[in-house]
């Protein structure tokens, strides 16, 4: 599957979905003019990739597929779609694919840590909460 690279703007995060590197990373601020238009294709791409690799779970035993969430801000409309991505991420695990989920937050930003803990609550694996020092 081809990579998906969406450059960061002042209202949308950078998205780097790189199946060759076992990496999905979303990074920056999120308050798109239309959340459905921005997140819909990302969700579709991730879901399509999961279905494509569902029969080769052995490839990921030693090298988990890593999902990094590095938001410095997202609005309430984005929260629902970030949760949808996390639900899709959990489907990787349910399909037997070895994954690792990292939720980053800036030092002092307790709200971003809390929202990460709440949104990842439904995951069947334990995510890592990683503080980025100032």
């Amino acid at each position: 599957m081809e990579n998906l690279l969406i450059e960061r703007t002042s209202v949308t995060p950078k998205v780097d979905f790189n199946p060759n590197k076992n990496l999905f990373e979303i990074c920056g601020s999120s308050r798109p003019e239309d959340v459905r238009v921005f997140y819909g294709p990302i969700l579709n791409k991730v879901e399509a990739f999961r279905k494509e690799i569902a029969y080769k779970t052995d490839d990921y035993i030693d090298n988990p597929f890593v999902f990094n969430f590095k938001f410095n801000y997202f609005n309430s409309s984005s929260a629902k779609f970030i949760l949808d991505i996390l639900i899709e991420v959990n489907n990787f695990h349910l399909d037997g694919i070895n994954i690792q989920v990292n939720w980053f937050f800036e030092e002092g930003d307790d709200d971003m840590k809390e929202v990460g803990e709440e949104l990842t609550e439904m995951l069947d694996i334990q995510p890592q909460y990683i503080m980025i020092k100032k």
Partner: protein, 176 residues
């Protein structure tokens, strides 16, 4: 004489304590919201070193501005207005815009409901809404208001001032 001096001194202290960081009056579209947020960011850096406070102010600003953009009623005579003021350690965001009288009851219900909740209940309500399988576009305003209440340090203060039988001027004050 002494009283006058003391009075003046207190007045000066009060002047210093109150700083207006943003005052905008005009049309609010998506691009304009971006311009406002770009301007306010360095002001926040100047007036607070607390990451959490700065992010909460930014978050509330986004939600109130987007609420006006998405749910306000355009009227050239009564333009939206947004003011961010620092009082001591508190920051107050005051936003005003025109709304249709037909929508007032709906807005009041959302605001009164949010104001009736405790801090824990606000959190539960916010994450409950987010975790609903689908969010109707019309209920996104509710999620935004809950998000605002979640970041606020006190209850939301609002009022509706009737302009005519069709429209009113809505003002919301949020303290962080």
């Amino acid at each position: 004489m002494l009283f006058c001096k003391i009075h003046r001194y207190i007045f000066i202290i009060n002047m210093v304590k109150e700083v207006e960081l943003l005052k905008y009056k005009g049309v609010l579209n998506f691009e304009q919201i971006g311009v406002i947020l770009d301007k306010v960011q360095p002001e926040l850096d100047n007036y607070s070193s607390d990451t959490l406070v700065k992010k909460r102010i930014y978050s509330v600003l986004v939600e109130v501005l987007e609420n006006v953009h998405n749910h306000g009623y355009n009227n050239q005579e009564y333009l939206p207005q947004c003011i961010l003021t620092r009082y001591d350690d508190n920051f107050v965001i005051k936003i005003s815009n025109v709304v249709l009288n037909a929508n007032i009851e709906k807005f009041k219900n959302i605001l009164d409901y949010v104001n009736s909740l405790s801090e824990d209940e606000i959190n539960k309500s916010f994450y409950g809404k987010i975790k609903e399988k689908t969010i109707l576009e019309e209920s996104e305003a509710g999620v935004g208001i809950i998000q605002i209440a979640k970041k606020a340090s006190s209850k939301l203060v609002y009022n509706f001032k009737t302009i005519n039988d069709k429209i009113s001027y809505f003002t919301l004050k949020v303290t962080i």
